[in-house]
């Protein structure tokens, strides 16, 4: 059918694993917007959720690192992390291998992409699913962009991949929801964990909401590393979603730095069609 929902969210493991250490007021407002995104996704009656993620050496390592990969399995498992550490129980997550295959074949017309018939989800996918599909009853198509082990795919090619993904989504009969998850500025798992560059994050989100390809792709990795840390490389997931929604505008539903979650916690959506879909909610701005 087509894309029915598009958005982006954060995925830091602290969001579920260190929940008790966060300021309850800010944490709960963030969770509320995650739940609001869940409701918005459910309202679009999707047949599958495509998650554009930035995994952290769960499946892919520097011995054989794909820049872009898509899962093509009937089911997945996660989280790989210790369940108590992450605060999420290990489980099986439904996939849809046939749908994945059709998407991959279509994407391959214009973009190179690896496929994987096995895929273990780390916090990068499990934290969003914990909030967005808490019953784990919606088939997932996992997509990965290497944001961890340089060399990394350039941002403009990430945008183009998003365009190819959209074209593929619009050519399958299923109703597809799309969520990108990563960044923004953060220095995860380093001595600077908890540092957040709010000004940089807001500048990025402004460009993202404008759907401004040139402005989004103007961030260099050097600048991103300096201003937004190595975690900032994960903006690729957001750029891909913006590419998939080229011509649309975005809205930030929630943004707040939460240091114990080690990231500026973000929930934002892109408009994808005329009526009733995410992003067209008149009360949709940050609150």
């Amino acid at each position: 059918m087509s894309l029915v929902f598009a958005g982006v969210c954060s995925h830091g493991p602290g969001i579920t694993g260190r929940s008790e250490q966060a300021d309850p007021a800010v944490r709960d407002a963030f969770y509320e917007n995650f739940h609001r995104m869940r409701d918005a996704i459910e309202a679009t009656r999707p047949d599958a959720l495509v998650v554009v993620a930035a995994e952290h050496f769960a499946n892919f390592f520097m011995n054989n690192m794909p820049s872009l990969a898509i899962g093509m399995a009937e089911h997945y498992e996660g989280p790989i992390e210790d369940e108590a550490w992450l605060g999420i129980e290990r489980r099986r997550i439904p996939g849809n291998a046939a749908l994945s295959k059709r998407l991959i074949e279509r994407i391959m017309r214009t973009s190179d992409v690896a496929y994987a018939e096995e895929w273990l989800f780390d916090h990068g996918i499990m934290v969003p699913l914990h909030f967005l599909t808490p019953r784990y009853d919606l088939p997932i198509v996992p997509v990965n962009i290497n944001c961890q082990g340089p060399p990394l795919i350039p941002l403009d090619r990430t945008w183009e991949f998003g365009c190819a993904l959209r074209e593929a989504i619009d050519n399958v009969p299923e109703r597809i929801a799309l969520v990108g998850t990563g960044g923004l500025s953060h220095w995860p798992a380093t001595p600077d964990s908890g540092v957040i560059n709010e000004a940089w994050d807001r500048e990025f989100l402004e460009r993202w909401c404008l759907g401004d390809r040139e402005a989004l792709c103007a961030f260099t990795d050097e600048e991103t590393y300096r201003e937004a840390g190595q975690g900032g490389f994960e903006i690729r997931t957001h750029v891909a979603v913006a590419g998939a929604c080229a011509g649309s505008k975005g809205r930030v539903w929630f943004y707040a730095p939460i240091p114990i979650f080690a990231v500026g916690c973000t929930i934002a959506t892109m408009e994808v069609s005329e009526a009733g879909l995410a992003g067209n909610d008149p009360s949709g701005d940050e609150r």
Binding site: R18, H56, F57, A58, F61, M62, N63, I80, E81, D82, W85, Q148, G149, P150, P188, A189, T190, P191, S193, D221, E222, Y225, Q230
Partner: protein, 100 residues
């Protein structure tokens, strides 16, 4: 090359129960499978998370190893800070990147 090998060892410890069993049974035998420098091998033998950080291990790999070694989150962060204090700046890998 050996940072790659060091990270490979930690990645496999994180991901593969068989590697972890071998690690617990005979650390020396497992380490001989990897091309490690003497300093890297010593850091692993001592569970020295701070030194491993300085040697360039990516935090997304190191944090799971630290958890395996029993470090609580804040202890993990402190171990890296102590490593920097003791051994100086990160020497290789992503955190030592010099942009051209």
């Amino acid at each position: 090359m050996s940072l790659y090998q060091l990270q490979k060892l930690l990645y496999q410890l994180n991901r593969d129960p068989h590697t972890r069993t071998r690690f617990e049974a005979d650390r020396g035998a497992l380490l001989s499978d990897y091309e490690l420098s003497e300093e890297e091998e010593a850091a692993i033998r001592a569970d020295d998370v701070g030194l491993l950080y300085v040697l360039g291990v990516n935090g997304q790999i190191l944090m799971h190893y630290a958890a395996m070694c029993g470090y609580e989150w804040h202890e993990y962060l402190q171990a890296m800070r102590d490593g920097l204090e003791r051994h100086g700046p990160v020497r290789r890998g992503l955190y030592a990147t010099v942009w051209e």
